[in-house]
């Protein structure tokens, strides 16, 4: 059985239909990339899957059950990296990551330190969010997905604002996630990244 099933997902804004009865499945250990031009509904689809937006029709199932963000099991299983992430102005980079790890039951700071190093955030670990560059903020947002348990990873254009080294690390990380049995649904405009990691391409806006 697929880990994630999306059936007839439809989202309208007034009379404008952004998503028109979208269907797809993702199995554990597979990466599906949403591709399509700007305005084709990639982010909207990710938001509907992550429970950040309400679809007008259709359903999203996780492990066979309707995905309902109010269930703690769903929040434990789905790690979300959308562009609506915000930060506590008075918590440092490391404190943010420790907080989310702790909220998920994590007790070991070493794991957080490893992710900080992996995402190149070591020099900024004690900085407050206001002092971070846009790339560092992006890396912090991405890192938040990897200091916690996950079975499904939902990422919206994770390549944005990453430098070449960051992109390479991201690809390595996504392949490792796949290897570990995590299903990944991501939207991307980076053809190289998609070619390197994705098992399936879901075209939107055709």
């Amino acid at each position: 059985m697929a880990l994630l099933e999306v059936r007839a997902l439809t989202r309208r804004f007034g009379e404008r239909i952004v998503l028109d009865a979208i269907d797809f499945d993702i199995e554990a250990g597979r990466i599906a990339a949403l591709v399509g031009p700007n305005g084709s509904g990639k982010s909207t689809l990710l938001r509907c899957v992550a429970g950040a937006d309400r679809a007008d029709d259709g359903e999203v199932r996780l492990n066979g059950r309707i995905l309902d963000e109010t269930h703690p099991e769903v929040r434990e299983a789905v790690a979300v990296g959308l562009d609506d992430i915000d930060f506590f102005a008075d918590l440092s980079v490391a404190e943010h990551l420790e907080l989310i790890s702790f909220a998920h039951g994590g007790r070991d700071r070493d794991g957080v330190d490893r992710v900080i190093t992996e995402f190149g955030l070591q020099p900024a670990r004690d900085q407050l969010p206001a002092t971070l560059s846009s790339g560092q903020r992006r890396r912090l947002a991405l890192a938040s997905c990897f200091v916690r348990p996950r079975r499904l990873l939902v990422l919206d254009e994770p390549e944005q604002r990453l430098d070449t080294a960051g992109l390479s690390r991201l690809a390595t990380r996504l392949l490792a996630e796949k290897e570990a049995g995590v299903a990944v649904l991501m939207a991307s405009h980076d053809a190289d990244l998609v070619a390197a990691v994705a098992d399936e391409r879901i075209e939107l806006g055709e």
Binding site: A77, V80, D86, D110, P149, R173, A176
Partner: protein
Amino acid sequence: MTAPLRQRGPSDDPAPGSSADPVPEPSAGTSFGPAAAPPPVRELRRRLRAGRRRHHPEALTELLGDLYMLLLGAVIYGAMFLSGAPAQWRALTGTGDPAARSWLALAALLAGTGLLWQALRAVGPLLAGPATLSWVLSAPVDRRAWLRPRFAGLVAAAAALAAVLAVCVTVAGGRTDGTELVVTGITGAVYGVALAGLGVVAQTQPRRRWPRLSAPILMGAGAVVALVVVGADLARVPISPIALPLTAVLLGLGLPAAVAAVVIGLRRLHRLDRIALSSGAGLANALLVSAMSLDPGQLVALVESRRNRRTGKIRGRRLRPAGRWWLLLQADLVRLTRRPGALLAFAALLLAQYALALALPSLAGPAQVVGAYLAGGRFTAGLSQISRTPALRRMLGGPDWLLRLVHLVLPAAAAGLFWLLTVPVGAALSAEWTPAVLIGMVVAVYRSGSRPPMNYGGAYAVTPMGMIPVDLLRQIFRGWDVLIGVALLVLLLG
């Protein structure tokens, strides 16, 4: 989940690579053993507070300082209001019909409740900040336990605000008996609790129709009551005052509703999803910023953007070939068809003028001026856009004054039509003064609609409320300055 599949967190990750390699291998890995349980909410909250205080130790003193300023303001302005309001009311309401007034008070209560309900739903009413949503509530923590203090705060604030409002309205109505004020305050508090509690219950049921329909039904009921009262007066049919005491009825209905709303709300807190907790945050934030900076620009922009987003797509209309100015006027008319709310507001203002003339006849004259100003203001979308965007004016070409004049046609016509339709219940002006008042009103509408963009870079004025940009004062009073003059003139002539 059908299977208890769990994946390990960072604590279970393998050790990083050798010390020579500063970037460890990705530590992903799915182990399907049991994950650690999330911490108790109290512990998580303590940890978050401790972290935040480390970098921002004066947060508590700042909060207490703000609270002190709020309370001080409430005491000073409350005392001024209580000492002056009863006498003002007696001066204003001497000739009103008490029976009509009691029914119109009911109509105002219904319509006001509808508006409040809509406002509550627009901002949440229960919210979680975007950072809390991203870093705390995205985890499997007990959401009900996390939100319980917020819910209690919301209910307490609603009770306090509604009680104060109810007491103020009673005092403004000329009643100062202590027992009556206490009963009214309790009724107000119960009403506030019921509204806030029901608001949260509605938030947990986004697919149900009752939350969406309640506001139009309440406002419609208020409008029907007002229409019947106004119609009866125009047809010279006498009406009796409301037989039941409104306060007792509200208390009798409100108390069980408030208890039920709080109990159900508490039980359903865990059903508040990320969308429900975040959808009003933008509006609440814009409201706060606009209130703090006295600049409604951000709030207006957000409301407009949400309305456009809801509309999504429109059917384009071909403008009839004609002269350039006629084309611009057609475009302004097309704009109006995409804002049906403006017509509804126009009708509501008309009804309010007739109702006010019946309940508070001595205020009918100035109210007609204010009503015409507000009615015209509903139609200034084109004028506002033209005035705020130099690039748009350059694109359209022609002199600026002519562009503004063309976009003033619709608001001026709306203000004039409002005036015409309310002549029977408006200011009693002689023929020689009417044109002057009408021109003043149109000038007020023009000044309000043609506000340029806010400029924070100019001079600052020292006021009792601190340093305020001069341009902000200009923005706030633009339009109202002329309007107040015209209203005073009408009051004097009346």
